[in-house]
């Protein structure tokens, strides 16, 4: 019980520090790849603190509910993961966080935000099936949906689920809002000054969304780490490698259109996972 409580607290406190730091590394790496010096690695924290100290301005009361919903449900999903709960429940709770974010975008009567929200729906259409399929594939290998069971199973998932792992890399790119999947709101202002779904979020709310992204990043990286959970350090290395991969992909690819994203996420992402699942069923 005490141990579980500690794990939950660690998830709440350590994850954003880790996530913020990773995004700092991301910015530094990206800057170097582009021949710039780049901001200090702690920059995301400076940004968040500054945003938090600003006045709160909204266009409708409901925005507050939806921003908090995004933060709290993403956080809940991470806590559930830390506690070794059911993988599907984690995905659904994470999904509600995403729904809350989209509803937040829709609730502002701004054309920019609504375009962003619609695109965020497309993002969700792209990654949600992949996540569920990954969970089902893991179930087929380990015979259960419980994260605690996956951790203790002793068999590295990556060996039986290499294609599902590739699918999860796509999910990582979408969730990090990286090129070529960064059309709802990009982290770097590659293409636009107005940041899509984020247009009407400012000050503390924007900071909360940023912090939620940190949680999300850690959550998705942790899911990637699960693919080699039998030895924690290998899992950690895999997650880090995936992160660097995402940053590099972001810098070498351009933002593409959403129909392209849906097609590629469904054919490449969902398709690969399906093939992996089919191979597993045949192997039995």
């Amino acid at each position: 019980m005490i141990e579980q409580l500690l794990l939950a607290v660690a998830a709440v406190v350590v994850a954003p520090l880790l996530g913020g730091l990773l995004y700092g590394v991301d910015r530094k790496l990206t800057a170097r790849l582009q021949g710039r010096v780049g901001p200090p690695i702690r920059q995301p924290f400076y940004d968040a603190i500054k945003l938090l100290s600003k006045d709160l301005i909204v266009t409708t009361e409901a925005q507050s509910v939806f921003v908090w919903g995004y933060l709290l449900f993403t956080l809940s999903a991470l806590v559930l993961l830390a506690l070794g709960q059911d993988l599907l429940l984690i995905i659904f709770v994470l999904g509600f966080g995403g729904v809350s974010f989209i509803a937040g975008g829709y609730s502002t009567k701004s054309p920019y935000a609504v375009i962003g929200a619609q695109r965020e729906i497309f993002q969700m259409l792209a990654y949600e099936p992949a996540l569920i399929l990954a969970a089902v594939a893991i179930y087929m290998v380990d015979g259960g949906f419980a994260v605690s069971q996956i951790v203790t199973s002793g068999h590295p998932l990556l060996l039986s689920l290499p294609l599902v792992f590739l699918t999860m890399l796509v999910v990582l790119l979408v969730k990090m809002r990286k090129s070529p999947f960064d059309f709802a709101a990009s982290h770097h202002a590659h293409q636009e000054l107005v940041r899509g779904i984020l247009t009407e979020f400012s000050g503390p709310h924007l900071a909360m969304i940023e912090i939620t992204h940190w949680y999300e990043l850690v959550l998705v990286l942790a899911l990637l780490g699960l693919f080699w959970a039998s030895a924690a350090w290998v899992g950690l290395l895999i997650a880090l490698a995936a992160f660097v991969f995402a940053v590099v992909v972001d810098n070498v690819s351009a933002r593409l259109t959403w129909p392209w994203m849906l097609r590629s996420a469904w054919s490449f992402g969902v398709g690969l996972a399906t093939i992996n699942i089919a191979l597993l069923s045949v192997a039995r």
């Binding site: 507050s64 919903g69 509600f96 729904v99």
Partner: protein
């Protein structure tokens, strides 16, 4: 005792309906409908206390077999009359064919042993009974006020409410009979009554569109009815006992029984508006909203899925079960995608219903005990949530004159109570912690044994999140300074919407407990998560709305319009060239180029027909 209770559940609504029809006095109608609903609810709760219950028809001087035969024939004749009067040749032909089959089965084969028991109840039937008697009754009570408003809106005089309530109440009685019957002959009789009731109720407003959609519902359901009658005939000719029990426990095994099962499953598909029969349920929306609520939540479509879920153990382990699972999962995905294309609130709800029914049928096809438990959970939780959603959309339509999602923009300001009720309904449909999500969770866990089905589940599940998120956001769009209205719901609406909201609250906080204690004891074993984590998520969800209050008016600003906002309270306005003022208009429709209803239906229907052909192929061996 048990037998009398069943008699009350089936006959009381019929008697009350006839009384309401014969004595057209509004106060009496009100008393009768509310009293019938209360008694039905209590009866259903007492019945739910029985683990199992069997009952036969009382031994009177009446020859029940002949009575049933005559009743079936009269009912079929009535359907023929209605089809011919509507000058619809296909419906007439189907009804005439059904007359031939029914006549042959009932009178052409000589005397047979009476099937015992006539009624057999278990968890599945009593849960359905609860839905019909409680949710269905609430919808009837809601109609008391709704229909007054409806007739006022449409200037209907003289009132056609006696006829309306006759068929609404008859519907409840027939549904109760349908879910309690073990005798397939009686089940068929109630089945055809629900077809009749839906035909009359869909056509209630008697506009050309209403008549056309009613006749479409009639012919599609008659097609299912004909398949049902065919199954009945097949069983009788081959000397099997025509009862649910015989079909399920394998005593009527063999090729004929399997074909009968596929015919009955097909009948279930038509009634549950599975693709390619989805159009009758969409067309049914021309009817007054309580009819939609009844058709979608507690009656009609639930009869279809009930039959499939009931028969599932009968085709476990046969190829038929894969065909059923695949057809259901296909409808789940396609209907969810179709819901994304719609902006009419009722059509979104309709596609969502069809999609969820597909999920239930897929669960029946997956056919493990876990999957069947998931199906039962989906039936229960969906009934409550969908009833609430339809009734709230009905009230919204009367309040703002439209049921388009775009017209509901900023409803939270104009009619806070209605917006919050609709939001509760939406949240309960797809998002944690509500029972629907728990059920979907179980469905996917159960579906992991059939990976191909899971791919369809995964894609459909994402589309579901998409269309609910869109609607949820639109309800709360509100420009600062918009006028706030306080609408009183009034006693009838409070009395009906209140219990549904309360039920959703209970299902959210204690879904795990309900499943554990009531629906499927022992199913907890399958959950990796514990009840605590689930309730924790529930509490987070329930606490969130309080945050809206924390925003002070001074913190509200109009949305960004490239710096061209017209100042002041009219903040939806922006300046265009020449200082002209334009209003911002935003539609919630999503990318018509990719998700077009017509194109999805154009390839979806042929695939669905192919799947049904496969279904029969699996049944015919």
């Amino acid at each position: 005792m048990g037998g009398q209770l069943i008699a009350v559940a089936v006959l009381l609504p019929v008697v009350a309906g006839v009384l309401v029809y014969l004595i057209p006095s509004p106060p009496l109608r009100r008393v009768l409908v509310i009293a019938t609903g209360a008694i039905l609810g209590i009866t259903a709760m007492v019945l739910a206390g029985y683990e199992t219950l069997e009952a036969n028809l009382p031994a009177t001087g009446l020859d029940w077999a002949t009575t049933l035969g005559v009743a079936d024939l009269l009912l079929t004749l009535l359907l023929i009359y209605l089809a011919v009067r509507a000058r619809h040749s296909l419906a007439s032909a189907l009804a005439a064919l059904q007359l031939v089959v029914v006549g042959y089965v009932e009178f052409g084969l000589g005397h047979r042993a009476e099937i015992q028991p006539t009624f057999a109840l278990d968890r599945l039937s009593t849960t359905l009974g609860l839905i019909v008697s409680i949710v269905g009754s609430l919808i009837c009570v809601y109609s008391l006020r709704y229909m007054d408003e409806h007739e006022e809106h449409h200037h209907v005089a003289p009132s056609r409410q006696p006829r309306f309530f006759l068929f609404m109440l008859l519907f409840l009685g027939a549904m109760n009979g349908l879910v309690f019957a073990n005798h397939l002959g009686w089940l068929f009789f109630f089945w055809e009554i629900t077809t009749l009731c839906s035909f009359v109720l869909i056509g209630h407003d008697d506009t050309p569109l209403a008549r056309a959609n009613a006749i479409r519902a009639l012919w599609m359901n008659l097609l299912g009815g004909l398949a049902f009658a065919g199954a009945l005939g097949l069983l009788v000719v081959r000397g099997h006992e025509a009862s649910l029990r015989a079909l399920v426990d394998g005593s009527a095994a063999g090729g004929a029984a399997l074909l009968a099962l596929s015919l009955l499953t097909f009948a279930g598909f038509t009634k549950a508006a599975q693709m390619p029969f989805q159009s009758w349920l969409l067309g049914a929306m021309v009817a007054p909203t309580p009819v939609s609520a009844l058709l979608h939540s507690s009656a009609m479509v639930k009869a279809g899925v009930y039959l499939v879920v009931r028969l599932a153990p009968g085709f476990r382990g046969t190829p038929l079960t894969y065909a059923v699972a695949f057809a259901g999962a296909f409808t789940f995905l396609v209907a969810a995608t179709l819901a994304l294309t719609q902006t009419d609130g009722k059509r979104v709800l309709a596609y969502s219903t069809i999609s969820n029914l597909g999920l239930i049928i897929a669960c029946a096809g997956i056919n493990t005990s876990l999957a069947l438990a998931a199906a039962l959970m989906l039936i229960l939780f969906h009934a409550v949530s969908k009833a609430l959603l339809f009734l709230s959309v009905g009230s919204i339509e009367h309040a703002i004159g439209s049921r388009d999602i775009d017209a509901m923009e900023g409803l939270a300001q104009r009619h806070p109570k209605l917006a919050i009720i609709a939001a509760i309904g939406i949240v309960s449909m797809a998002l944690p912690p509500a029972g629907m999500l728990l059920a979907k969770w179980v469905a996917i866990e159960a579906g992991a044994t059939m990976p191909l089905i899971t791919v369809l589940f995964a894609l459909g599940s994402a589309a579901t999140l998409g269309f609910w998120a869109r609607w949820l956001g639109r309800l709360f769009t509100s420009p600062p300074g918009a006028a706030r209205a306080r609408v009183r719901l009034g006693p009838i609406y409070t009395l009906t919407l209140g219990p549904l909201v309360a039920a959703i609250g209970v299902f959210s906080l204690a879904a795990g407990l309900i499943v554990d204690r009531f629906l499927e004891p022992g199913m907890r074993l399958y959950f990796a998560g514990d009840a605590l984590s689930e309730t924790g998520v529930a509490l987070v969800a329930l606490g969130l709305p309080a945050l809206a209050v924390a925003i002070k008016p001074g913190q509200l600003r109009p949305a960004y319009m490239c710096g061209e906002n017209v100042g002041g309270p009219s903040s939806e306005m922006f300046y265009t060239a020449g200082e002209q003022q334009e209003r911002v208009g935003i539609s919630s429709s999503l990318c018509r180029a990719l998700f077009r209803e017509e194109s999805i239906v154009r390839w979806g229907n042929p695939v669905a027909i192919l799947l049904i052909v496969i279904l029969f192929g699996m049944g015919y061996r």
